[in-house]
C-alpha cells in the first residue's frame, strides 16, 4: 500500500474509529465531504485531488468497515459520470457542488434494471440515469419516489419515476453512453466489493473477540478447534478476496462484476458464520452482529446478481480460450 492509500485509510480511521462512529447519516455525509472523499477521483484540472481508482478502492473499504449510511456510492458514480462525460456548459458548476457534498443519486443496480435501489432519492437534487443509449442527469422535482424498505436499513433506498418532461442534462449518448454506462457499472461493483470486504473485516473481528471472551466448559470458546478452523477458513476467504480486490481496481467492468460477486459472497459467508459464532445473543436486535449480515445480503443483491456476473465471466473464459 502506497503513501496516499495509507493516508486515506489513517484519516478515515481517525474520523470513524469504529462502526458506531458513522451511524448518523447527516453527520457522516459532512465528514466524508470534509475528508475530501468526493474530490478524490476528480482530476486536478477539474478541481479534484486526481486520485486513482485503487485509491477510491480504499475509501470503499472504509465505508464498509464502518457500515456507513447514506448515498455515498451513488455520489461516486455521479462524480465519475461528470468527469468522464464530454464537456458541457453546466459541468464545472455541477462538479463543484457535487465535490462539496451536494447529493446526486443513482440506482445501485446494473444499468437496464430501471430506477430501483436509489439511495436517498427523497433528498437528492438530481438522479443519474444510466443506460446503453443515454446517460443523463434528471431533475427529481415532481418525481414519484417510493420508499423501498430493506432488511439492511443502513442505506435508505427508493424506487423512482421521474416526472414526465423533467429537465434533463444529457451527459452521453450512443456509443459513448454505452461505454460510460459500462464503466459506471464497473465502479458500482468495485464499490460494493470494497464495502463487503471492509464489512467482513469488522464482523470477523467482532466474532473473534466474542469467541475470546465468552466462556463455556471453563474455557473461552476461541480455544475450541472446531471454531478455530471455521474462523481460519473465513480469514483465508477474506484475505484471498482482498488480494483480488486490490489487484483488480483498474480491471475491465466484467472482471469487476465477477470480483464483486466473489467478494459479496465472502462478506455473506463471514457474516453468516459470525452470527452463528455468537450463539443465542447473535439473534438479539441489541447485539449488532446481525446488522452486518443484513448489509451483506443487500450488497450481494445490488450491482447485479452473482448468477448474472458469474455466467458472464464463464462465457468470457470460454471465449478467451477459443480465441487464444
Amino acid at each position: 500500500m502506497n503513501e496516499m492509500r495509507r493516508e486515506l485509510e489513517d484519516s478515515a480511521r481517525k474520523v470513524f474509529p469504529d462502526w458506531q462512529a458513522a451511524q448518523n447519516a447527516e453527520v457522516c455525509w459532512t465528514q466524508m465531504a470534509e475528508l475530501g472523499w468526493f474530490m478524490a477521483g476528480v482530476p486536478e484540472a477539474l478541481g479534484g485531488l486526481g486520485l486513482e481508482r485503487r485509491d477510491l478502492a480504499v475509501i470503499f473499504t472504509e465505508m464498509g468497515r464502518a457500515r456507513m449510511p447514506g448515498p455515498a456510492l451513488a455520489q461516486f458514480l455521479a462524480l465519475e459520470a461528470l468527469v468522464q462525460a464530454p464537456d458541457f456548459p453546466e459541468r464545472e458548476e455541477l462538479l463543484e457542488n457535487a465535490m462539496a457534498g451536494k447529493a446526486i443519486t443513482t440506482a445501485l443496480t446494473v444499468a437496464g434494471n430501471g430506477l430501483a435501489a436509489v439511495p436517498d432519492a427523497d433528498t437528492a437534487s438530481r438522479i443519474l440515469v444510466r443506460s446503453a443509449d443515454e446517460v443523463a442527469l434528471v431533475d427529481l422535482a415532481g418525481a414519484k419516489i417510493t420508499l423501498f424498505p430493506t432488511w439492511d436499513g443502513s442505506r435508505r433506498l427508493f424506487t423512482v419515476e421521474p416526472a414526465p418532461n423533467s429537465p434533463r442534462i444529457p451527459l452521453a449518448a450512443g456509443i459513448e453512453a454505452a461505454a460510460l454506462t459500462e464503466r459506471l457499472d464497473g465502479l458500482l461493483c468495485l464499490g460494493l466489493a470494497g464495502d463487503g470486504l471492509g464489512g467482513a473485516e469488522t464482523v470477523l473481528a467482532m466474532a473473534i473477540e466474542y469467541l475470546g471472551t465468552r466462556r463455556q466448559f471453563d474455557r473461552p470458546l476461541a480455544m475450541f478447534q472446531a471454531l478455530k478452523h471455521r474462523a481460519a477458513d473465513l480469514k483465508v476467504a477474506l484475505e484471498t478476496a482482498t488480494a483480488l480486490y486490490e489487484a483488480s481496481s483498474e480491471a475491465a467492468p466484467l472482471a469487476l462484476g465477477a470480483m464483486k460477486a466473489h467478494c459479496c459472497e465472502v462478506y455473506k459467508q463471514v457474516a453468516e458464520e459470525a452470527v452463528q459464532f455468537h450463539g443465542g445473543i447473535g439473534l438479539t436486535v441489541e447485539y449488532p452482529v446481525h446488522l452486518f449480515l443484513k448489509r451483506a445480503f443487500l450488497n450481494r443483491a445490488l450491482g447485479g446478481s452473482a448468477a448474472f456476473w458469474n455466467e458472464s465471466a464463464g462465457d468470457a473464459v470460454l471465449e478467451l480460450a477459443s480465441a487464444g
Partner: protein
C-alpha cells in the same frame, strides 16, 4: 517493473522457446519421467535458471526475489515441467547446508547438487506426521558413527535420491524437540532400503525409507547433538512463496483444460456450468493475486505470522475445486481409467488430478495444521492446554 526486469523476462522467454522440452507429458513410466526431470534440470543449471535463490557465487545465483518471480512466472507460463526431482535438493538441502552446516559440508555437497545429485527429506514417520517432534527413529552413538534404526515415510522421490536430510532421536529425555539430531545420510549406505508408495492416482511420488542399523559418520551431523529441531526449522522454512505462486499460475494457465472439458461435454450454453466456470476462474485469479501479494510482502519484509499458511490453504482448496469441476464436467467418461501424466497437477485427467490434489491439502503441513496456525498466530485464538491429561477416574 524495471528495464532489467523486462530484459530478464525476454531473455528467459527466448531461452524457454528454444530449450524447453515439449514432450514431458508423454512419459509412460515413472522412470522415463525421472529421466526427463534430470535432463531438464541439467539444462536449467547450464543456462543459469536452476538456482536463482542461491548466492551470487553459484552459476545463476544471486537473483533478487523479484527476479526469481519473473523466472518462475515464465517457466509456468510456458508450461515447462515442474522441478519435482530436484526440489528438495535446491531448496531444503540448500537452505539447511547454507544456514546450519559446516563449511566442509557445504563445499562438499552444494556443487554436487548442481551436478544432479538429488536429496530427499527423512522427517515424517508413521507416528510423527503433524506432530513431527514425536519422531522415534533412534540414533545411538558408537564411537565415530551414529547407528540409526527406524522408519521414515512420505519422502518425496526417495527412491531416486542420493542423499537424505534425516531427523532422528538421540535422546528420550526432556521435551521431545530437545532429543532430536540432524544427519546427512548417504542413501547407498548398508541398511537403507526404500519402498515407493503406490498412491491413489497411480503415481509413486513418495516413498518409505527403512533404516536398519545404518552407520552414519558423526561428521555427517548438522549442528550439535540435540539441536536437530532448530535445524529442521531452517529446512522447512526454505520455500513457500515462489512455489505457491508458480503453482497458482499453472492452475490459471490450465483453466483452458476446463474450457476444453465444457466443450467436450457440449455444455457451452449450460448456464449452471457457465456460472461455476466463471466463479472458479475468479477464485483462481484471486489465489494468484494472493500469491503475488504474499511475495510482495516478503520483498517488503512485511510478512506476518500465518501469511504463508493462508496462501497454501487458499491454493490447496482451490486446486481441489478446480479438479472437482473437471470431474463433474467429464461425467461418466471421466470415470474411465486411463494413463496418467506424471508430475502434472493440472493434467485434465480429472480423477487423477483430483486424487493428486490431496498432496497439497496434506503434504507440507495439512490444511488442518495450517488452520491452527492461522487461528492461533494470526487471529490470536488461544492454544489448547499443552498436555492432554486423563482426568482422575477416567
Amino acid at each position: 517493473m524495471t528495464q532489467q526486469d523486462d530484459a530478464l523476462r525476454r531473455e528467459i522467454r527466448d531461452w524457454i522457446a528454444r530449450e524447453a522440452p515439449l514432450d514431458w507429458r508423454t512419459a509412460s513410466t515413472h522412470e522415463a519421467f525421472v529421466a526427463s526431470q534430470r535432463s531438464w534440470f541439467a539444462k536449467l543449471v547450464g543456462a543459469g535458471y536452476a538456482v536463482p535463490h542461491w548466492p551470487r557465487e553459484w552459476p545463476g545465483g544471486g537473483r533478487s526475489l523479484a527476479e526469481q518471480k519473473i523466472i518462475y512466472e515464465e517457466l509456468a507460463r510456458a508450461d515447462t515441467p515442474r522441478l519435482l526431482l530436484s526440489f528438495v535438493s535446491t531448496y531444503h538441502a540448500f537452505a539447511t547446508l547454507a544456514e546450519c552446516a559446516s563449511a566442509q559440508q557445504r563445499s562438499h555437497y552444494l556443487p554436487r547438487i548442481l551436478e544432479g545429485e538429488t536429496w530427499c527429506q527423512g522427517f515424517s514417520e508413521p507416528g510423527a506426521g503433524s506432530d513431527l517432534a514425536a519422531i522415534r527413529s533412534r540414533a545411538e552413538r558408537r564411537g565415530d558413527v551414529y547407528v540409526v534404526s527406524g522408519q521414515k515415510v512420505w519422502s518425496t522421490m526417495a527412491q531416486y535420491a542420493d542423499m537424505c536430510l534425516l531427523l532422528v532421536r538421540t535422546s528420550g529425555d526432556g521435551p521431545k524437540q530437545a532429543g532430536l539430531t540432524y544427519l546427512l545420510m548417504d542413501m547407498r549406505l548398508p541398511g537403507v532400503s526404500v519402498r515407493p508408495i503406490h498412491q491413489i492416482q497411480g503415481d509413486e511420488e513418495f516413498a518409505e525409507i527403512f533404516l536398519d542399523e545404518v552407520e552414519i559418520p558423526v561428521s555427517q551431523r548438522v549442528g550439535e547433538e540435540g539441536a536437530g529441531w532448530a535445524v529442521a526449522q531452517a529446512t522447512l522454512a526454505s520455500e513457500r512463496g515462489l512455489t505457491l505462486m508458480e503453482l497458482s499460475y499453472r492452475m490459471r494457465g490450465a483453466m483452458v483444460r476446463l474450457t476444453e472439458a465444457v466443450h467436450a461435454a457440449g455444455r457451452t450454453c449450460d448456464a449452471g456450468i457457465l456460472r461455476k466456470l466463471g466463479a472458479l476462474a475468479t477464485r483462481v485469479d484471486a489465489v494468484c493475486a494472493l500469491a503475488d501479494r504474499f511475495l510482495q510482502k516478503r520483498m517488503d519484509e512485511d510478512e506476518r505470522a500465518g501469511d504463508a499458511s493462508i496462501v497454501k490453504l487458499a491454493y490447496s482448496r482451490c486446486l481441489r475445486a478446480w479438479s472437482d469441476l473437471g470431474v463433474e464436467l467429464a461425467d461418466l467418461s471421466g470415470q474411465m481409467h486411463g494413463p496418467i501424466t506424471f508430475g502434472d497437477l493440472n493434467s485434465g485427467n480429472w480423477m487423477a488430478d483430483f486424487m493428486n490434489s490431496y498432496a497439497w491439502t496434506i503434504a507440507g503441513g495439512s490444511d488442518e495444521v495450517q488452520r491452527n496456525i492461522i487461528a492461533e498466530r494470526m487471529l490470536g485464538m488461544p492454544r489448547e492446554p499443552k498436555n492432554w491429561i486423563t482426568e482422575p477416574g477416567q
